[in-house]
Point group: C2
Chain length 352, copies 2
């Protein structure tokens, strides 16, 4: 029997609450099938761990996590712990250490989810964002000169490597080809006169290897507008780390809200674990109240099943989410319902 | 009699068509009043000029423009002329040479304009974006190393100076104070660990000088989502060059479309001309057809009147745009009408 080892980092704020429901659903799905087994190992990493130990994870945390098939992460960050610690020493550290260079974010309006736009048809919101996840604007390189003086100047340096740019674009072409959909590149060469000129050039080069994939290219500002005006233009989308961050949150607003937005951080070589996480944050304001929406976390669990090669099971989970939305009975307050986090998880398992 | 000298750069594509209507309206408004006079001087700068002369403007173009009170610009860019020429040697060159460090973009849904959102009230879309316009991500600094080799790497360096960051944030506080509205800063310190940490610090410092201004601060990804979910949170907004670019196009999609989006590039010291432009581009696909929407260009003309200190006249123009939208008779095709560019301009002057 196939066995997958999952490291669970529930993390901060609402993280543990939503992850619980995801695990409930995963266990439920695994029982449907005797073909595979899921083992969960819990890691208490996060801001509480930091408060006790002065670090976000064990010193050998990355080594410990390395042995797993996947990481299932809730949320990271809590007031009082600065981002350069909470995020750079946990979330971003994992993304980078395990070379999870592909961030996959579906921006699809599920049946039953709320459509916030007047002029657009439901089925027009069906995009798959492939975000560069390892470098670019998030390289962390920069300088802070003449601190506190009149001539103080701060540099933030985006780093776009040939390898990093080519592999994400190639991954996107492979995905578009497999899905038989068009691929849109989003960049900003008219203003970012080095990085994005390079990005466009690589996109153009790689596109020659995929004559069967229809392509388009937009400036990030125009893309932000068109995602609202005419989202059906976008099918598979590839973009940089920062642009992907911004546009997928915009996408979440179009596709049922942040409570439904899932993300997978993929290492395609599979020489290190990939990580699955809801893209909402730790939401400290509602933490502990049992009202957080677990659907994004459950959708990420479905992405994990896909990644393990159990797409049929991933689809069962996604279909269950859709049915729950269509029923519109058991929903958390962010979706205008009155159900608790665990009631939503229970309902999803019932449907399954 | 007060006299204002306006340099007109109609530019490329639909630029001349929409600028014509703006000038028609400006002349019309000036006639209402014997208190001021507007003089227009035309400069043929743009991609056609480039095709003939090998440069986007005269070598002493900046010197020539310097003497004017304002520049009224249509659009720049045409297929075949690379951006690093068309934009960097005209639009961006003017913004930088004349230290037009404030880019003001109203994101207000005018009466009669189309509301594209289901869950939001019309009056909730009423934001004033103040975008840094001289440096930051658009500094043009970077490097392209090991070109064509395996280890090729491209750097794009954002440059945030103390002076540049402080002055835009201070300008925004002054504006918010004058208008009695809240001020929201949009940044991304959790990922851009130099520039945006600095930005947040300066915002925090300057805010202490304005205890009467209510403030808020959002991450750019969250802001993109919230502009759709809950735009009434945003009143006056201050943000960086790139984030302002993206979010104001998103804002245009919410506030009646890009055909209505105006922008002012302001030099607050007034030692060089400020520039007023619709924020749509040159739209080569519809150029020459007489169907471009001139309302953004007319709204920029209204911003110019405000800037000259003739706010009452600016308001007459804006009110006329609103009335035209409410009538919903004379509109260009992008607004589902059948009128031509000049018919819309004529109707605005008739209303005035
Ligand atoms: C928490 C933050 C650093 C992160 C990012 O910007 O990547 C988040 O917004 C996301 O999109 O996963
Ligand atoms: C043309 C381009 C360089 C410009 C920008 O990004 O600033 C435009 O998009 C704008 O917003 O005025």
């Amino acid at each position: 029997m196939k066995q997958f080892k999952i490291a669970v980092i529930a993390g901060d704020g609402i993280g543990p609450e939503v992850i619980n429901e995801g695990i409930k659903v995963l266990k439920n799905v695994a029982e449907l099938d005797s073909g595979f087994q899921l083992d969960f190992t819990y890691f208490p990493y996060g801001c509480e761990f930091y408060a006790e130990n002065g670090r976000m994870m064990d010193d050998d945390g990355i080594d410990k996590l390395k042995a797993f098939d996947a990481i299932y992460l809730g949320a990271v960050g809590f007031p009082g712990v600065p981002d350069h610690i909470s995020l750079w020493e946990l979330l971003l550290k994992i993304r980078k250490s395990f070379d999870q260079y592909v961030n996959i974010r579906p921006v699809t309006l599920l049946k039953g989810a709320h459509l916030p736009l007047v002029d657009v048809k439901r089925e027009d919101i069906d995009m798959l964002f492939i975000r560069e996840n390892s470098e670019g604007e998030y390289s962390g390189a920069g300088d802070w000169l003449f601190k506190g003086q009149e001539n103080e100047v701060v540099l933030q340096n985006g780093v776009f490597s040939r390898k990093g740019t080519e592999r994400i674009i190639r991954y996107a072409f492979e995905t578009a080809k497999k899905e038989g959909r068009s691929l849109t590149s989003i960049s900003k060469a008219n203003a970012l006169n080095y990085s994005m000129v390079f990005w466009d050039q690589v996109f153009e080069e790689v596109s020659r290897e995929y004559p069967e994939v229809e392509t388009a290219s937009y400036l990030v500002d125009a893309a932000a507008m068109l995602m609202i005006k005419d989202p059906k233009r976008f099918e598979v989308v590839v973009t940089s780390n920062l642009f992907g961050d911004i546009l997928t949150d915009l996408g979440a607003a179009l596709a049922g809200g942040i409570g439904l937005a899932a993300g997978a951080n993929i290492n395609p070589q599979r020489d290190s674990p990939s990580m699955f996480e809801p893209i909402h944050g730790s939401a400290p304001d509602i933490a502990g109240k049992g009202i957080a929406n677990p659907l994004a976390s459950i959708w990420s669990a479905s992405q994990m099943l896909d990644f393990f090669g159990y797409e049929a099971h991933g689809k069962i989970v996604l279909d269950a989410i859709e049915q729950l939305l269509l029923e519109a009975r058991v929903l958390t307050p962010d979706m205008n319902g009155t159900a608790s986090t665990s009631e939503v998880g229970d309902r999803v398992t019932d449907i399954i």
